[in-house]
Protein backbone atom coordinates (compact mmCIF):
# COMPACT_ATOMS: atom_id res chain seq x y z
CA UNK A 1 0.00 0.00 0.00
CA UNK A 2 2.71 2.39 1.06
CA UNK A 3 4.76 1.32 -1.91
CA UNK A 4 1.96 2.16 -4.28
CA UNK A 5 1.49 5.56 -2.70
CA UNK A 6 5.19 6.22 -3.09
CA UNK A 7 5.06 5.20 -6.72
CA UNK A 8 2.06 7.44 -7.29
CA UNK A 9 3.73 10.39 -5.67
CA UNK A 10 6.85 9.81 -7.72
CA UNK A 11 4.86 9.70 -10.95
CA UNK A 12 3.04 12.88 -9.95
CA UNK A 13 6.31 14.57 -9.14
CA UNK A 14 7.73 13.62 -12.51
CA UNK A 15 4.70 14.94 -14.33
CA UNK A 16 4.84 18.20 -12.36
CA UNK A 17 8.47 18.78 -13.32
CA UNK A 18 7.78 17.96 -16.94
CA UNK A 19 4.84 20.32 -17.09
CA UNK A 20 6.85 23.07 -15.43
CA UNK A 21 9.64 22.70 -17.97
CA UNK A 22 7.17 22.83 -20.85
CA UNK A 23 5.52 25.87 -19.24
CA UNK A 24 8.85 27.64 -19.04
CA UNK A 25 9.81 26.74 -22.61
CA UNK A 26 6.50 28.03 -23.89
CA UNK A 27 7.14 31.35 -22.16
CA UNK A 28 10.63 31.55 -23.59
CA UNK A 29 9.20 30.78 -26.99
CA UNK A 30 6.66 33.60 -26.72
CA UNK A 31 9.37 35.98 -25.52
CA UNK A 32 11.70 34.95 -28.35
CA UNK A 33 8.97 35.58 -30.89
CA UNK A 34 8.72 39.13 -29.56
CA UNK A 35 5.68 39.05 -27.28
CA UNK A 36 5.73 41.15 -24.15
CA UNK A 37 6.45 39.05 -21.10
CA UNK A 38 8.19 40.02 -17.89
CA UNK A 39 11.43 38.37 -16.88
CA UNK A 40 9.63 37.04 -13.81
CA UNK A 41 7.01 35.29 -15.91
CA UNK A 42 9.60 33.67 -18.14
CA UNK A 43 11.90 32.42 -15.38
CA UNK A 44 9.28 31.02 -13.05
CA UNK A 45 11.02 28.85 -10.45
CA UNK A 46 9.66 25.38 -9.73
CA UNK A 47 8.59 26.36 -6.21
CA UNK A 48 6.43 29.22 -7.46
CA UNK A 49 4.98 26.96 -10.13
CA UNK A 50 4.04 24.45 -7.43
CA UNK A 51 2.39 27.14 -5.31
CA UNK A 52 0.28 28.40 -8.16
CA UNK A 53 -0.73 25.45 -10.26
CA UNK A 54 -0.82 22.38 -8.04
CA UNK A 55 -4.24 21.16 -6.97
CA UNK A 56 -5.04 19.64 -3.59
CA UNK A 57 -4.45 16.09 -4.78
CA UNK A 58 -0.89 16.99 -5.68
CA UNK A 59 -1.37 16.95 -9.45
CA UNK A 60 -0.97 19.76 -11.94
CA UNK A 61 -4.14 21.75 -12.43
CA UNK A 62 -3.93 22.08 -16.19
CA UNK A 63 -7.04 24.19 -16.51
CA UNK A 64 -5.06 27.06 -14.97
CA UNK A 65 -2.19 26.74 -17.43
CA UNK A 66 -3.20 29.36 -19.97
CA UNK A 67 -2.15 32.89 -20.74
CA UNK A 68 -2.21 35.51 -23.45
CA UNK A 69 0.55 37.87 -24.51
CA UNK A 70 0.56 41.07 -26.50
CA UNK A 71 3.12 41.65 -29.22
CA UNK A 72 5.77 44.26 -28.44
CA UNK A 73 5.97 47.44 -30.48
CA UNK A 74 9.12 46.17 -32.18
CA UNK A 75 7.33 43.06 -33.30
CA UNK A 76 4.33 45.05 -34.51
CA UNK A 77 6.60 47.26 -36.58
CA UNK A 78 8.55 44.30 -37.94
CA UNK A 79 5.49 42.48 -39.21
CA UNK A 80 3.72 45.58 -40.53
CA UNK A 81 1.62 44.88 -43.59
CA UNK A 82 2.78 46.72 -46.72
CA UNK A 83 1.07 50.07 -47.25
CA UNK A 84 -1.16 50.46 -50.28
CA UNK A 85 -2.63 53.66 -51.75
CA UNK A 86 -6.05 52.68 -50.41
CA UNK A 87 -4.75 51.78 -46.98
CA UNK A 88 -1.78 53.99 -46.08
CA UNK A 89 -1.44 52.74 -42.50
CA UNK A 90 -2.30 49.03 -42.46
CA UNK A 91 -2.21 46.94 -39.34
CA UNK A 92 0.29 44.33 -38.37
CA UNK A 93 0.32 40.65 -39.25
CA UNK A 94 0.81 39.68 -35.65
CA UNK A 95 -1.60 40.15 -32.80
CA UNK A 96 -2.30 38.86 -29.35
CA UNK A 97 -1.35 35.24 -28.81
CA UNK A 98 -3.26 32.76 -26.67
CA UNK A 99 -1.38 29.84 -25.18
CA UNK A 100 -3.16 26.98 -23.46
CA UNK A 101 -2.29 23.57 -22.05
CA UNK A 102 -4.87 20.95 -22.96
CA UNK A 103 -6.85 19.91 -19.91
CA UNK A 104 -8.21 16.67 -21.37
CA UNK A 105 -6.62 13.30 -21.91
CA UNK A 106 -7.59 13.16 -25.60
CA UNK A 107 -7.01 15.57 -28.45
CA UNK A 108 -9.49 14.93 -31.22
CA UNK A 109 -11.10 17.06 -33.89
CA UNK A 110 -13.71 18.27 -31.43
CA UNK A 111 -11.23 19.69 -28.93
CA UNK A 112 -9.28 21.31 -31.75
CA UNK A 113 -12.46 22.87 -33.12
CA UNK A 114 -13.35 24.20 -29.69
CA UNK A 115 -9.90 25.71 -29.29
CA UNK A 116 -10.00 27.25 -32.77
CA UNK A 117 -13.42 28.73 -32.13
CA UNK A 118 -12.29 30.17 -28.81
CA UNK A 119 -9.24 31.82 -30.40
CA UNK A 120 -11.26 33.14 -33.33
CA UNK A 121 -14.05 34.52 -31.17
CA UNK A 122 -11.68 36.32 -28.82
CA UNK A 123 -9.75 37.79 -31.76
CA UNK A 124 -6.47 36.13 -30.96
CA UNK A 125 -4.21 36.26 -34.00
CA UNK A 126 -2.44 33.10 -32.92
CA UNK A 127 -3.24 30.20 -30.67
CA UNK A 128 -0.86 27.62 -29.24
CA UNK A 129 -2.19 24.37 -27.86
CA UNK A 130 0.17 22.22 -25.81
CA UNK A 131 -0.94 18.66 -25.23
CA UNK A 132 0.63 15.55 -23.82
CA UNK A 133 -1.13 13.26 -26.28
CA UNK A 134 -0.71 13.03 -30.03
CA UNK A 135 -3.28 14.67 -32.27
CA UNK A 136 -5.50 12.82 -34.75
CA UNK A 137 -5.43 13.40 -38.49
CA UNK A 138 -8.88 14.97 -38.58
CA UNK A 139 -7.87 17.40 -35.83
CA UNK A 140 -4.99 18.55 -38.00
CA UNK A 141 -7.48 19.22 -40.79
CA UNK A 142 -9.41 21.47 -38.42
CA UNK A 143 -6.33 23.68 -37.98
CA UNK A 144 -6.38 24.56 -41.66
CA UNK A 145 -10.03 25.61 -41.48
CA UNK A 146 -9.29 28.36 -38.96
CA UNK A 147 -6.31 29.71 -40.91
CA UNK A 148 -8.43 32.63 -42.14
CA UNK A 149 -9.07 33.94 -38.63
CA UNK A 150 -6.35 32.65 -36.38
CA UNK A 151 -3.11 30.72 -36.75
CA UNK A 152 -3.39 27.60 -34.62
CA UNK A 153 -0.22 25.83 -33.62
CA UNK A 154 0.06 22.59 -31.75
CA UNK A 155 2.94 21.31 -29.66
CA UNK A 156 3.58 18.08 -27.86
CA UNK A 157 4.57 18.61 -24.24
CA UNK A 158 7.44 16.14 -24.72
CA UNK A 159 8.91 18.36 -27.44
CA UNK A 160 9.00 21.35 -25.11
CA UNK A 161 10.88 19.78 -22.21
CA UNK A 162 14.03 21.53 -23.32
CA UNK A 163 14.38 24.71 -25.31
CA UNK A 164 16.02 23.55 -28.51
CA UNK A 165 17.28 27.00 -29.43
CA UNK A 166 19.50 26.98 -26.36
CA UNK A 167 21.39 23.98 -27.66
CA UNK A 168 25.00 24.49 -28.70
CA UNK A 169 24.50 23.17 -32.22
CA UNK A 170 21.45 25.29 -33.02
CA UNK A 171 22.54 28.60 -34.57
CA UNK A 172 20.68 31.85 -34.08
CA UNK A 173 17.61 32.22 -36.31
CA UNK A 174 16.17 35.65 -37.04
CA UNK A 175 13.03 36.16 -39.10
CA UNK A 176 13.35 38.96 -41.65
CA UNK A 177 10.66 41.58 -42.07
CA UNK A 178 9.07 42.28 -45.46
CA UNK A 179 11.39 45.19 -46.24
CA UNK A 180 14.45 43.25 -45.17
CA UNK A 181 13.43 40.36 -47.38
CA UNK A 182 12.90 42.67 -50.35
CA UNK A 183 16.30 44.29 -49.71
CA UNK A 184 17.97 40.90 -49.52
CA UNK A 185 16.45 39.73 -52.79
CA UNK A 186 17.41 43.01 -54.45
CA UNK A 187 20.94 42.97 -53.09
CA UNK A 188 21.68 39.51 -54.39
CA UNK A 189 19.42 39.83 -57.44
CA UNK A 190 17.53 36.70 -56.50
CA UNK A 191 14.07 35.42 -56.94
CA UNK A 192 12.42 33.93 -53.88
CA UNK A 193 12.75 30.44 -55.24
CA UNK A 194 16.50 30.75 -55.61
CA UNK A 195 17.02 30.90 -51.86
CA UNK A 196 17.77 27.77 -49.87
CA UNK A 197 14.67 26.50 -48.10
CA UNK A 198 13.50 25.55 -44.64
CA UNK A 199 10.39 23.49 -43.94
CA UNK A 200 7.45 24.91 -41.98
CA UNK A 201 7.58 21.82 -39.80
CA UNK A 202 11.26 22.29 -39.03
CA UNK A 203 11.59 22.37 -35.22
CA UNK A 204 13.13 25.84 -35.14
CA UNK A 205 10.62 27.16 -37.71
CA UNK A 206 7.83 25.79 -35.52
CA UNK A 207 9.42 27.36 -32.46
CA UNK A 208 9.49 30.76 -34.15
CA UNK A 209 6.02 30.28 -35.63
CA UNK A 210 7.21 30.91 -39.17
CA UNK A 211 4.76 31.19 -42.00
CA UNK A 212 5.24 30.13 -45.59
CA UNK A 213 7.11 32.77 -47.59
CA UNK A 214 9.02 34.29 -44.68
CA UNK A 215 12.80 34.36 -44.84
CA UNK A 216 14.94 33.46 -41.86
CA UNK A 217 18.51 34.62 -41.36
CA UNK A 218 20.68 31.95 -39.81
CA UNK A 219 23.80 33.26 -38.11
CA UNK A 220 26.43 30.59 -37.60
CA UNK A 221 29.80 30.82 -35.96
CA UNK A 222 32.64 30.41 -38.40
CA UNK A 223 36.26 29.71 -37.58
CA UNK A 224 37.56 31.73 -40.49
CA UNK A 225 35.06 34.54 -40.79
CA UNK A 226 33.81 34.92 -37.23
CA UNK A 227 30.19 34.89 -38.21
CA UNK A 228 28.49 33.55 -41.26
CA UNK A 229 24.95 34.42 -42.22
CA UNK A 230 22.79 32.37 -44.53
CA UNK A 231 19.20 32.88 -45.54
CA UNK A 232 16.42 30.38 -45.95
CA UNK A 233 12.95 30.68 -47.35
CA UNK A 234 10.19 29.00 -45.40
CA UNK A 235 8.18 26.55 -47.52
Amino acid sequence: MADQEDANREANERSIVRTWRAWRTVHEMAADRGYELTQEEVNLPLERFRERYISNEGTVNRSLLKFSARPSDDMMRKFQKPATPNDPSPGSDCGTIWIEFLDESTLGAEQMRKFGKFCAEHNYAAGVLVSNVAVSASAKKEIAKFAQWTAIEWFLEDDLLINITHHDLVPRHVILSREEKAALLKRYRLKETQLPRILVRDPVAKYLGMKRGQVVKIIRKSETAGRYASYRLCV
Partner: protein, 286 residues
Protein backbone atom coordinates in the same frame (compact mmCIF):
# COMPACT_ATOMS: atom_id res chain seq x y z
CA UNK B 1 -3.43 80.05 -96.15
CA UNK B 2 -5.37 78.19 -98.78
CA UNK B 3 -4.20 74.90 -97.32
CA UNK B 4 -6.13 75.70 -94.17
CA UNK B 5 -9.30 75.94 -96.14
CA UNK B 6 -8.73 72.53 -97.74
CA UNK B 7 -10.48 69.59 -96.21
CA UNK B 8 -8.16 67.39 -94.15
CA UNK B 9 -6.34 64.78 -96.25
CA UNK B 10 -8.14 61.52 -96.59
CA UNK B 11 -6.51 58.57 -94.93
CA UNK B 12 -5.57 55.67 -97.12
CA UNK B 13 -6.14 53.19 -94.33
CA UNK B 14 -9.35 51.31 -93.93
CA UNK B 15 -11.80 52.98 -91.64
CA UNK B 16 -11.61 51.33 -88.22
CA UNK B 17 -14.81 50.61 -86.44
CA UNK B 18 -15.69 53.25 -83.91
CA UNK B 19 -15.05 52.39 -80.26
CA UNK B 20 -18.71 52.47 -79.38
CA UNK B 21 -19.22 49.49 -81.62
CA UNK B 22 -16.56 47.37 -79.95
CA UNK B 23 -17.75 47.82 -76.35
CA UNK B 24 -20.71 45.49 -76.56
CA UNK B 25 -18.39 42.70 -77.61
CA UNK B 26 -15.97 43.50 -74.84
CA UNK B 27 -18.62 43.71 -72.19
CA UNK B 28 -20.05 40.47 -73.50
CA UNK B 29 -16.65 38.82 -73.04
CA UNK B 30 -16.37 40.36 -69.60
CA UNK B 31 -19.74 39.04 -68.48
CA UNK B 32 -18.90 35.65 -69.91
CA UNK B 33 -15.63 35.59 -67.99
CA UNK B 34 -17.45 36.72 -64.87
CA UNK B 35 -20.07 34.04 -65.21
CA UNK B 36 -17.41 31.42 -65.73
CA UNK B 37 -15.54 32.61 -62.64
CA UNK B 38 -18.75 32.51 -60.59
CA UNK B 39 -19.55 29.06 -61.92
CA UNK B 40 -16.15 27.72 -60.84
CA UNK B 41 -16.31 29.51 -57.50
CA UNK B 42 -19.65 27.83 -56.86
CA UNK B 43 -18.16 24.45 -57.63
CA UNK B 44 -15.33 25.07 -55.17
CA UNK B 45 -17.81 26.33 -52.61
CA UNK B 46 -19.89 23.16 -52.93
CA UNK B 47 -16.83 20.99 -52.52
CA UNK B 48 -15.79 22.86 -49.40
CA UNK B 49 -19.27 22.46 -48.02
CA UNK B 50 -19.21 18.72 -48.58
CA UNK B 51 -15.80 18.39 -46.95
CA UNK B 52 -17.18 20.36 -43.98
CA UNK B 53 -20.08 17.94 -43.78
CA UNK B 54 -17.64 15.05 -43.78
CA UNK B 55 -15.54 16.47 -40.96
CA UNK B 56 -18.72 17.19 -38.98
CA UNK B 57 -19.78 13.59 -39.39
CA UNK B 58 -16.34 12.37 -38.32
CA UNK B 59 -16.87 14.20 -35.04
CA UNK B 60 -20.45 12.99 -34.69
CA UNK B 61 -19.65 9.39 -35.54
CA UNK B 62 -16.68 9.29 -33.20
CA UNK B 63 -19.13 9.75 -30.32
CA UNK B 64 -21.39 6.82 -31.28
CA UNK B 65 -22.92 4.60 -30.05
CA UNK B 66 -25.24 6.83 -28.07
CA UNK B 67 -26.00 5.84 -24.50
CA UNK B 68 -29.36 4.22 -24.02
CA UNK B 69 -30.58 3.30 -20.57
CA UNK B 70 -32.89 0.35 -21.15
CA UNK B 71 -30.84 -1.60 -23.66
CA UNK B 72 -27.06 -1.51 -23.62
CA UNK B 73 -26.03 -1.48 -27.29
CA UNK B 74 -23.50 -3.90 -28.65
CA UNK B 75 -21.58 -4.00 -31.91
CA UNK B 76 -23.57 -7.03 -33.08
CA UNK B 77 -26.99 -5.52 -32.46
CA UNK B 78 -26.76 -1.74 -32.56
CA UNK B 79 -29.74 0.46 -31.88
CA UNK B 80 -31.65 1.39 -35.01
CA UNK B 81 -31.02 5.10 -34.67
CA UNK B 82 -27.29 4.60 -34.45
CA UNK B 83 -27.23 2.22 -37.37
CA UNK B 84 -29.22 4.61 -39.54
CA UNK B 85 -27.07 7.57 -38.53
CA UNK B 86 -23.95 5.58 -39.31
CA UNK B 87 -25.01 4.24 -42.70
CA UNK B 88 -26.44 7.55 -43.86
CA UNK B 89 -23.42 9.64 -42.83
CA UNK B 90 -20.78 7.21 -44.00
CA UNK B 91 -22.19 7.38 -47.53
CA UNK B 92 -20.05 10.36 -48.52
CA UNK B 93 -16.85 9.04 -47.01
CA UNK B 94 -13.79 8.06 -48.95
CA UNK B 95 -11.69 5.22 -47.53
CA UNK B 96 -9.18 7.80 -46.29
CA UNK B 97 -11.91 9.68 -44.41
CA UNK B 98 -12.97 6.40 -42.86
CA UNK B 99 -9.38 5.82 -41.72
CA UNK B 100 -9.46 9.28 -40.14
CA UNK B 101 -12.67 8.36 -38.35
CA UNK B 102 -11.10 5.18 -36.96
CA UNK B 103 -8.07 7.15 -35.81
CA UNK B 104 -10.31 9.75 -34.21
CA UNK B 105 -12.20 7.05 -32.30
CA UNK B 106 -8.95 5.46 -31.19
CA UNK B 107 -7.82 8.88 -30.02
CA UNK B 108 -10.86 8.95 -27.76
CA UNK B 109 -9.97 5.46 -26.54
CA UNK B 110 -12.81 3.69 -28.32
CA UNK B 111 -12.91 0.68 -30.59
CA UNK B 112 -12.48 1.68 -34.25
CA UNK B 113 -15.84 0.22 -35.30
CA UNK B 114 -18.40 3.01 -35.04
CA UNK B 115 -21.23 1.00 -33.49
CA UNK B 116 -19.08 -0.70 -30.87
CA UNK B 117 -19.33 0.72 -27.33
CA UNK B 118 -16.25 -1.07 -25.97
CA UNK B 119 -12.86 0.58 -25.47
CA UNK B 120 -10.03 -0.46 -27.74
CA UNK B 121 -7.57 -3.08 -26.61
CA UNK B 122 -4.31 -2.08 -25.04
CA UNK B 123 -1.44 -4.44 -25.69
CA UNK B 124 0.66 -4.55 -22.57
CA UNK B 125 4.07 -4.89 -24.07
CA UNK B 126 6.72 -2.81 -25.62
CA UNK B 127 7.81 -3.47 -29.16
CA UNK B 128 6.33 -2.91 -32.57
CA UNK B 129 4.88 -6.35 -33.26
CA UNK B 130 2.78 -8.91 -31.49
CA UNK B 131 2.46 -12.65 -32.01
CA UNK B 132 -1.14 -13.75 -32.49
CA UNK B 133 -2.42 -17.32 -32.00
CA UNK B 134 0.98 -18.67 -31.09
CA UNK B 135 1.32 -22.41 -31.78
CA UNK B 136 -1.79 -22.63 -33.93
CA UNK B 137 -2.35 -22.83 -37.63
CA UNK B 138 -3.54 -19.23 -38.06
CA UNK B 139 -0.44 -17.87 -36.36
CA UNK B 140 0.48 -14.35 -37.44
CA UNK B 141 2.82 -11.53 -36.57
CA UNK B 142 0.77 -8.35 -36.40
CA UNK B 143 1.89 -4.77 -35.86
CA UNK B 144 0.90 -3.67 -32.37
CA UNK B 145 -0.70 -0.50 -33.74
CA UNK B 146 -3.02 -2.53 -35.92
CA UNK B 147 -4.12 -4.64 -32.99
CA UNK B 148 -4.82 -1.66 -30.77
CA UNK B 149 -7.33 -0.19 -33.19
CA UNK B 150 -10.12 -2.62 -32.36
CA UNK B 151 -11.69 -4.25 -29.34
CA UNK B 152 -11.76 -7.65 -31.02
CA UNK B 153 -11.24 -9.44 -34.33
CA UNK B 154 -14.97 -9.45 -35.07
CA UNK B 155 -15.13 -5.67 -34.78
CA UNK B 156 -12.19 -5.40 -37.13
CA UNK B 157 -14.09 -7.54 -39.62
CA UNK B 158 -17.27 -5.46 -39.26
CA UNK B 159 -15.32 -2.24 -39.79
CA UNK B 160 -13.45 -3.57 -42.81
CA UNK B 161 -16.75 -4.78 -44.29
CA UNK B 162 -17.83 -1.14 -44.31
CA UNK B 163 -14.52 0.06 -45.69
CA UNK B 164 -14.57 -2.12 -48.78
CA UNK B 165 -17.94 -0.66 -49.74
CA UNK B 166 -16.59 2.88 -49.75
CA UNK B 167 -15.61 4.48 -52.99
CA UNK B 168 -12.41 6.26 -53.95
CA UNK B 169 -14.17 8.81 -56.15
CA UNK B 170 -14.48 12.30 -54.70
CA UNK B 171 -17.42 12.93 -52.37
CA UNK B 172 -18.98 15.69 -54.47
CA UNK B 173 -19.31 13.35 -57.42
CA UNK B 174 -21.24 10.86 -55.32
CA UNK B 175 -23.31 13.28 -53.27
CA UNK B 176 -26.27 13.23 -55.63
CA UNK B 177 -26.39 9.49 -56.30
CA UNK B 178 -29.01 8.04 -53.98
CA UNK B 179 -28.26 4.50 -55.13
CA UNK B 180 -25.08 4.26 -53.07
CA UNK B 181 -26.09 2.61 -49.83
CA UNK B 182 -23.74 1.17 -47.27
CA UNK B 183 -24.72 -2.07 -45.60
CA UNK B 184 -23.72 -3.29 -42.19
CA UNK B 185 -21.98 -6.59 -41.75
CA UNK B 186 -24.46 -9.47 -41.63
CA UNK B 187 -23.93 -11.09 -38.27
CA UNK B 188 -23.73 -14.86 -38.62
CA UNK B 189 -26.78 -16.44 -36.95
CA UNK B 190 -28.84 -13.27 -36.77
CA UNK B 191 -32.30 -12.74 -38.27
CA UNK B 192 -31.02 -10.67 -41.13
CA UNK B 193 -28.43 -13.33 -41.85
CA UNK B 194 -31.17 -15.94 -42.29
CA UNK B 195 -33.08 -13.69 -44.63
CA UNK B 196 -30.04 -13.25 -46.80
CA UNK B 197 -29.93 -17.01 -47.35
CA UNK B 198 -33.31 -16.94 -49.08
CA UNK B 199 -32.39 -17.50 -52.77
CA UNK B 200 -35.23 -15.37 -54.18
CA UNK B 201 -34.25 -12.48 -51.97
CA UNK B 202 -30.61 -12.93 -52.93
CA UNK B 203 -31.45 -12.91 -56.60
CA UNK B 204 -33.58 -9.81 -56.26
CA UNK B 205 -30.79 -8.05 -54.43
CA UNK B 206 -28.26 -9.04 -57.06
CA UNK B 207 -30.56 -7.83 -59.82
CA UNK B 208 -31.02 -4.51 -58.05
CA UNK B 209 -27.32 -4.00 -57.65
CA UNK B 210 -26.72 -5.04 -61.26
CA UNK B 211 -29.28 -2.53 -62.49
CA UNK B 212 -27.69 0.08 -60.31
CA UNK B 213 -24.24 -0.67 -61.68
CA UNK B 214 -25.52 -0.37 -65.24
CA UNK B 215 -27.25 2.91 -64.49
CA UNK B 216 -24.14 4.31 -62.92
CA UNK B 217 -22.03 3.19 -65.87
CA UNK B 218 -24.45 4.80 -68.34
CA UNK B 219 -24.45 8.03 -66.34
CA UNK B 220 -20.67 8.20 -66.24
CA UNK B 221 -20.44 7.41 -69.97
CA UNK B 222 -22.88 10.20 -70.74
CA UNK B 223 -20.89 12.57 -68.56
CA UNK B 224 -17.67 11.73 -70.33
CA UNK B 225 -19.26 12.21 -73.70
CA UNK B 226 -20.64 15.55 -72.62
CA UNK B 227 -17.19 16.59 -71.44
CA UNK B 228 -15.72 15.58 -74.78
CA UNK B 229 -18.24 17.75 -76.58
CA UNK B 230 -17.40 20.67 -74.33
CA UNK B 231 -20.73 20.74 -72.55
CA UNK B 232 -20.75 21.94 -68.99
CA UNK B 233 -22.31 19.93 -66.23
CA UNK B 234 -25.03 22.49 -65.90
CA UNK B 235 -28.11 20.97 -67.57
CA UNK B 236 -29.90 24.27 -68.13
CA UNK B 237 -26.98 25.72 -70.01
CA UNK B 238 -26.39 22.71 -72.16
CA UNK B 239 -25.80 23.68 -75.76
CA UNK B 240 -28.67 22.76 -78.00
CA UNK B 241 -27.95 21.85 -81.59
CA UNK B 242 -30.87 21.94 -84.00
CA UNK B 243 -30.66 18.69 -85.91
CA UNK B 244 -32.55 18.62 -89.19
CA UNK B 245 -32.60 15.60 -91.44
CA UNK B 246 -32.50 16.80 -95.01
CA UNK B 247 -33.24 14.33 -97.81
CA UNK B 248 -31.12 14.54 -100.90
CA UNK B 249 -33.38 14.83 -103.97
CA UNK B 250 -32.94 12.05 -106.45
CA UNK B 251 -33.52 12.86 -110.12
CA UNK B 252 -32.44 9.70 -111.93
CA UNK B 253 -32.10 6.00 -111.31
CA UNK B 254 -28.74 5.04 -109.90
CA UNK B 255 -26.37 3.52 -112.43
CA UNK B 256 -23.57 1.09 -111.98
CA UNK B 257 -20.15 2.73 -111.85
CA UNK B 258 -18.09 2.02 -114.94
CA UNK B 259 -14.50 2.43 -116.02
CA UNK B 260 -13.54 5.10 -118.52
CA UNK B 261 -13.44 4.31 -122.24
CA UNK B 262 -9.80 5.26 -122.48
CA UNK B 263 -7.67 2.30 -121.45
CA UNK B 264 -4.72 4.50 -120.47
CA UNK B 265 -6.79 6.49 -118.04
CA UNK B 266 -4.93 5.03 -115.08
CA UNK B 267 -1.66 6.43 -116.46
CA UNK B 268 -2.86 10.00 -116.76
CA UNK B 269 -1.38 12.57 -114.42
CA UNK B 270 -3.80 15.45 -114.23
CA UNK B 271 -4.89 14.68 -117.78
CA UNK B 272 -1.37 14.31 -119.19
CA UNK B 273 0.19 11.04 -120.15
CA UNK B 274 3.94 11.08 -119.58
CA UNK B 275 6.04 9.97 -122.50
CA UNK B 276 8.73 8.53 -120.28
CA UNK B 277 9.18 4.83 -121.01
CA UNK B 278 10.42 3.11 -117.89
CA UNK B 279 10.99 -0.18 -119.66
CA UNK B 280 13.19 1.33 -122.40
CA UNK B 281 15.24 3.17 -119.80
CA UNK B 282 15.86 0.00 -117.90
CA UNK B 283 16.93 -1.87 -121.06
CA UNK B 284 19.40 0.85 -121.98
CA UNK B 285 21.08 0.72 -118.60
CA UNK B 286 21.19 -3.06 -118.67
Amino acid sequence: MSSQANPPPKGILKKTKSTTETTPGESDAATRARNLAIHHAKIIHDRRQISDVISDSVIALSKLPSESAELPPSAASPSDDDAVAFTSQIRLFQPSDYEDLIEERNCLGKCGYVLCPKPRTKVNQTGEFKLVNFGRKDFAIVPKKEMERWCSQTCARRAMYIKVQLNETAAWERAGIEGIQIELYQEPGSKTGKKANDPAEDLAKDMRSLKLEADRKAASDARELALERGDTGDKTKMRRVAVKVKEKDVSEAPAEPSLDQNEDSHLLLEGYKPKFDAKAQKDRVG
